[in-house]
Amino acid sequence: MKYSYYPGCSLKGTGRAYEESLLAVFRALGVEVEELKDWNCCGATTYMSYDELQSYALAARNLSMATQAGNDLMAPCAACYLVLNKTQYYVRDYPWIGQIVEHALETIHLPKDISAKVRHPLDILLSDVGLDAIKAKVSHPLNGLKIAPYYGCQIVRPYALFDSQRNPTSMDRLLEACGAEIVYYPVKTQCCGGSQKGTLPEIGLDLIRHLLAEAQRNGAEVMATVCPLCQFNLEAFQEQASNAHQFKIPVLYFTQLLAVALGIRLQDAGFQRSFIRVKPILTKKEIAYA
């Protein structure tokens, strides 16, 4: 199994732990991953609000190069995952958009075939690698660690390509296979606010506070995320969000939790990048870690 890998701008900066743990996990599972050469920013939601057509062209450049490379394209960042998929759908459904994108690709001498399949690592782990194969490799089970799985909005909406739209369970099943206990988390697909925390701080904070409160109320010890912006929002503003309740709950990428279960060393999985110390919780739950 080989995949092209599209990191997106966040995974080299605030989301470094995601990339580190993701690559380590795939290495441990024997899946080959190669970063897409010379990838450019996908535009995310911000460029789409600035100029829709240019945003499709930017995404299409990556898709064209990925199609050339010949493998499925793995996009861990939820926003990139959405934009790349969306571009494929809109180029297909609106011929005039397809025309413009094709023309733009032509001017930079890239082929117009942008049909590479864009996959999320959750999808790859469950469908291609398989839960059984992963379970077999779990050497340091998570001992009933209580996890609130936070999916965010972009990997299930508007395209529910590998999981249920209203009630996704792919991350739940993956983490349960590692020995964790998934807590009831009804707001698992409610938007964290995205970039609103930076632009409209009070409102952004309200949304974050609500998600943290629900996780705490249901007894979660750790939160698991799939998107670098969600992870940042939920982790970086816990003090600001605290009022009557003191929020102090580590927010990790699901790949980091998977890495612990597979026996990968914590510093190889980006644990040193968390703001909130995770080791005490692992110790308390008697989870052996490398």
Binding site: K12, G13, T14, G15, C41, L58, T107, C153, Q272
Partner: protein, 196 residues
């Protein structure tokens, strides 16, 4: 009490705006909207909006351009697609919000130094120049152009990011930067042609 007289005359409506919204990508079905309110009910941000998404849809299709483009709604929308999932008429609300945001930015319907359009502009500039975003630089540029004093509040967070190695100051860039510019120009060029 400050009294205001509000009655909307047909002459004040902007039929071009109404026509435009039905022609945007995603706006084709706006006339089907039943005004059922499911979108507003599902939207996590609707609690803060002056016009709920449902109201905005109706105002848009009726051509009340002023109200629509000066609303808070279009800035508050995080494009999370919650509204579209259960919409019984399958109307592409999120994409219409994108279109309204773009138009509002283009026509200047926002207060000075408003962070969201500043972010959008700086984002696009950075992509044009480098092909990728360097988060730290982007954030700083936005602060400079909106409210420098807010950066003070982020001091502690900034240090933490640096300490954990999550703040990269080095410029992220694409090798074939010229391609990015060519690509974006090609889009503009063809768009102008098609519009004619």
């Amino acid at each position: 009490m400050e009294l205001k007289r509000v009655v909307k005359f047909e002459a004040e409506r902007d039929p071009d705006f109404a026509r435009w919204i039905t022609q945007t990508v995603g706006g084709e079905r706006i006339r089907h909207c039943l005004q059922c309110g499911l979108c507003s009910g599902s939207c996590p941000l609707s609690l803060y909006m002056d016009y709920t998404p449902r109201r905005l849809m109706h105002l848009s299709r009726e051509g009340f351009k002023e109200e629509v483009l000066s609303s808070y709604t279009i800035w508050l929308c995080t494009c999370c697609y919650a509204c579209m999932v259960e919409c019984p008429k399958k109307i592409n609300i999120t994409h219409m919000m994108y279109a309204l945001k773009t138009r509002a930015m283009k026509e200047g319907f926002y207060p000075k130094r408003f962070a969201i359009p500043v972010l959008a502009r700086e984002f696009s500039r950075m992509i044009r120049a480098s092909g990728r975003i360097t988060e730290s630089r982007l954030v700083m540029r936005v602060f400079f152009k909106t409210a420098i004093w807010r950066m003070m509040g982020f001091g502690k967070l900034g240090l933490r990011l640096m300490r954990t190695g999550r703040m990269r100051m080095q410029r992220e860039k694409v090798q074939r930067r010229g391609d990015i510019v060519t690509l974006l120009n090609a889009v503009d060029g063809m768009r102008k042609e098609l519009a004619r």
